[in-house]
Every structure is written in structure tokens, then in C-alpha cells.
């Protein structure tokens, strides 16, 4: 553990010291640890899983801190009725980091409607979905914390808006190793995360039936090609009796999806996919499903460290994706 000014996994005391120095921070950890931190210019979310410089770890005695080197920072929280304003509040030149609690109505609003929010895609926004230890699923709730008040929320999103000086720009990156496989093309008549009917190669079908018929591995997401970027939607559960499939994020109406092909040796492929010099990396996160299904515990993912999360935000909500943000100079 350390208390380096550039962050990482550290004790509560180490994080408290950085907060008291007035640094702008995003902090991930268990709710009981986040609750011990002093008030200040920070936002936090619950997860005990982290990608550290030493590899993937589950830690219930430490927090993961990311320090933001920026000119001017503000913190805000949003309920489901005000969330659409999030990017209108963001600076013209800068970036926003958002943390949303898993299973909350505010996450549902973001998942379904973020692509339509004013200024979406124009202003950079990254972030993650907070969760709980997998042994406590259904027993405790994911939460976020507004460092100004120290209040934990299970029904709000917290956002840190950072302004950058002239000549610097924030760039959002996503690393997704999944690619469309050879199965049928799937399209959906409505934006939804709970599905039955779909179009299978142009014919009416049922997604649960397709998954059963193709003996698809539930660990592989649905993938859509967004002008060269692969966007995943992960499968949460398949109810064959009811013919319904629950997803971790919605599929969007009219978008063409395929089941992903398997990725062998995720850590090695991830290392190859990360740029050798990613730049001034100020924020990163990776998905809990990559951690679980790709065996990241104890294994490193290049320079990308940060919380292991229950959904990732690179503008819109993504699944099974690593996200990072760099600050670059225009010259």
C-alpha cells in the first residue's frame, strides 16, 4: 500500500491525508471505509475489487484512490430527475467522472437515456457503477458517496467535473477485447434490458431460445459495432421457462448485435491491446466480469489500474470493458 500523490491502493489514513491536502480524488472501497474519510473534494463508490499495480485484488481493508491533476474541480450529485443535466454542468474544456450505484433507478435512467442527454459525446465523461462483495449480493446495497457532505447514497449519482487549462484536452478510451462471433444477427424493437422477442437474421425469434439453441456461453456478451468501436451488453440471467433474458445494460433499438467470440488469455491480450504509452492516465476502471471470467485476480493489466466495477461509463454505459481517460496537450 502507498500514499503516493498519484494514488493507488492505500489505507484509509493515507486517503484521508490526500483529502486533507485539498486534492481532488475519486475513491473506491467498502462503504464502512469510505464512511471514515474526512469531508473534501472527492467522490466515491463501493467495491472491494481493484486492479492494482501488483495485479487484481479483493481487499476489504484498503481503498483505491485516483488523484486528478486539474485546474478547477466541482462535485455534484444527481437524482434520476436531474441526471440529464449532467453534461450541461460540465465545463466546456475538461472532463466529468460519474459513479452510479448498481441496481438503482438513477443507473437505469443513465443506461437507457445517456446517449440522448444534452452535450453527450461532445464533452468527455467516464465513470463506473459501484457494487458490493459478490458474497453479499442481495444482502447489501451498492452506494456512492459525496465527499463534500460524507453522505452515502443508494439512489443518486455523484459526479466530479474537472476543468482543464487551455491547450489540454481529455480523451476517453475503451479497451474491449470482444468481437462479434459467427452467430446470427440480432436486432431489437425497443431499447430494453429485459428481453424476450427479437429479430434473428431478420426473422421473429426469442433471445432465450437463440441462446439455448446455440448453446451460447452466458459469459460472452452481445457485441455491436459502433463505427469501429465494439460495444458490449452482458447477459445477467436467462430464464428459459419464461423465455426472458435479463441484461446488465440495455440493447438499443435498431442496433445490430452478435454474440461475442471467446477471448483466450485475457490478460495477455489486454496487455497487447493497451497502448505502450497511454499518455497522462488520470482515471481507469475494468469490469468485474472480466475480473471473474478472465481470471484477473493476481494478474496485471499494463498501466491500467483502478476499481473493478459493475458497469463502466465511457460516455454511455458499457459492460465487460476497460475504460480509461488521458489528459493530452494540444501541441
Amino acid at each position: 500500500m502507498n500514499t503516493r500523490a498519484n494514488g493507488g491502493l492505500m489505507s484509509v489514513a493515507g486517503a484521508a491525508e490526500l483529502i486533507e491536502r485539498g486534492m481532488a480524488l475519486t475513491i473506491a472501497g467498502e462503504a464502512s471505509l469510505l464512511g471514515q474519510l474526512p469531508r473534501g473534494l472527492w467522490i466515491g463508490g463501493t467495491t472491494p475489487y481493484f486492479m492494482t499495480a501488483d495485479g487484481g485484488q479483493c481487499r476489504r481493508d484498503a481503498v483505491f484512490v485516483q488523484c486528478l491533476d486539474t485546474e478547477e474541480v466541482s462535485v455534484a450529485s444527481y437524482g434520476k430527475d436531474t441526471l440529464a443535466n449532467v453534461l450541461e454542468d460540465a465545463p466546456e474544456n475538461g472532463y466529468s467522472i460519474i459513479i452510479l450505484p448498481a441496481g438503482s433507478p438513477v443507473l437505469e435512467v443513465y443506461a437507457h437515456h445517456a446517449p440522448d442527454f444534452p452535450d453527450m459525446f461532445i464533452k468527455p465523461i467516464v465513470g463506473w457503477v459501484s457494487g458490493v462483495h459478490l458474497d453479499e449480493l442481495g444482502q447489501s446495497s451498492a452506494a456512492v458517496i459525496d465527499g463534500r457532505s460524507g453522505e452515502l447514497h443508494t439512489d443518486k449519482a455523484v459526479v466530479l467535473h474537472a476543468r482543464l487549462p487551455e491547450g489540454s484536452s481529455a480523451v476517453v478510451h475503451a479497451v474491449n477485447l470482444f468481437e462479434p462471433g459467427f452467430g446470427p444477427e440480432l436486432t431489437f424493437g425497443a431499447t430494453s434490458d429485459s428481453l424476450s422477442e427479437c429479430s434473428v437474421d431478420g426473422a421473429v425469434g426469442n433471445l432465450a431460445d437463440v441462446i439455448t439453441a446455440h448453446e451460447s456461453d452466458h459469459r460472452l456478451p452481445l457485441v455491436a459495432d459502433y463505427c469501429g468501436t465494439m460495444v458490449n451488453v452482458s447477459i445477467q440471467s436467462v430464464d428459459e421457462a419464461q423465455g426472458r433474458v435479463k441484461l446488465y445494460a440495455p440493447v438499443f433499438e435498431g442496433v445490430r448485435y452478435h454474440f461475442a467470440r471467446p477471448v483466450a488469455d485475457y490478460p495477455a491480450k489486454f496487455m497487447a491491446a493497451m497502448p505502450t504509452y497511454p499518455g497522462n492516465l488520470v482515471f481507469g476502471c475494468n469490469c468485474i466480469l472480466n475480473y471473474l471470467h478472465s481470471g484477473l485476480e493476481g494478474r496485471k493489466t499494463a498501466q491500467l489500474t483502478g476499481p473493478i466495477t459493475f458497469g463502466e461509463v465511457a460516455y454511455q454505459l458499457l459492460n465487460q470493458t476497460a475504460v480509461f481517460l488521458t489528459v493530452e496537450h494540444d501541441d
Partner: protein
Amino acid sequence: MRDTEICRKLLQLEEPWNVDRVKVDVQARELHAYLVAGKSWFGRPSFGRPKMRWRHANVGAFKTFIHATLPDDPEQRPESPFLGQVDSDFTHGLAQRVVECLRAGLGYRQVCNLLEIDVYLAWQIRHAIGEGQLSEEGKLLDQGTNESSPRQIPPTGDPVWFRLLESEEAIDIHLLGLRLLLARCRQEFPALSSNDAKIMRVNTVRRFFIKHEKQLDHEISQLLEMRRGSQAGAES
């Protein structure tokens, strides 16, 4: 009094400009004024199609659009409130109203609600002022912007934007934000029935190009190549 004469007074036109014809769409609450420099031919509408279309400040409850053709010689182009610039989507008069509202401390959302304009148009006006393209309005709003010059980037009315959004033509894009935005707009574009809705999507994509121009050399050169290809195709 003829409708064109009433419209001339409402728009406070100055010589040599006159209203050639007026189109009022009551259902859409839109007023379209087609202007000519000089008198129309014996009071009859002229048949030349105006080359420019600008959004103007509302006349009453009606969203107002000015259609006109500016002289080819830039020196001869007036900066009258009811006219705009060749490559812009708004009149000087509307820009002035936006500036007055911003100076009074209103936020973008409030300005847009008050003037019934979309946020992208308000942003374009603010950007043009920051770039010094609207010198008079810029004097009023003494505030710069961090964004780069849009000089390389085609204007909103350029057909290349429609080609970009209507086709599935591959374009090699480095920035994740532009990939997601373009994919989204391409998904939506075929279902949009109104031209205004399509222009709004064009404005959104164009805004991304303007805001991130310094990072988009590769993408802008492909866009310009696409435009050259379209022009060559049209000429052959």
C-alpha cells in the same frame, strides 16, 4: 397592406432589401421570409431559389427563418440584423439577442427556452463570437473560448454532412466519442422525417468536429476527401 409589406416592417428591413414572398406554417408556428435585394418583378415573386437560410429571432410566437442570397463579393455583404453570414445558420439579429441574454446572466438552457432555439444553435453563435467571426456581437460579449478555428470544417449546409450521416461509408475514426456519436446519428438518421431534425443531427456532429478540431486532422481530411469525391461525381 400586403403581407410582404407587413413582414418588411416587422423584420425592419432596410434598403435595398424587400420581402419577395412570405410563407406561414401555422401548425409548425414558422414564418419563412424570402428576401430580395431590390424590387421583385412587378410585385410578382422571383423564381430564383435563395442560397442562404438563417434562423432569425421570433416574430411574435412564430419561429422565423430568412431566406436570401448574399452578393458574391464579400465587401458588398451587409451586416444587417435580418441577414446572416454565408456559412452560418443564424442572423446577426438572433446572435445579438443571444449575446444580450448571456450578458444578462442567463444560462444556455434559459436562452434556448426564451428564444425557442436549440442548444446547438446557441452554441454555434457563442462559438462564432469567440472566433471573432461576429465582430459587433463579440464586442458585446468580451469573452474568449478555448475552442479551435472551424475554418477547415464544412458549413452546416454542405451536402457532405448528409452523406456522412446517411451512408454507412467507412470512416477511420480515432476518437471514441466521435465513433459513438456518429454510430448513434447514423442509426437515427433514416427514421427522421423532418429536415430540421436532420439538420440538428448534422449540427451535433459538426459541433464535435469544431470542438475537437485539433485532434481530428485524420478524420477531417477524410471528410474533405468525401466532399471532393461528391463534387467530382456531381460534375462528371
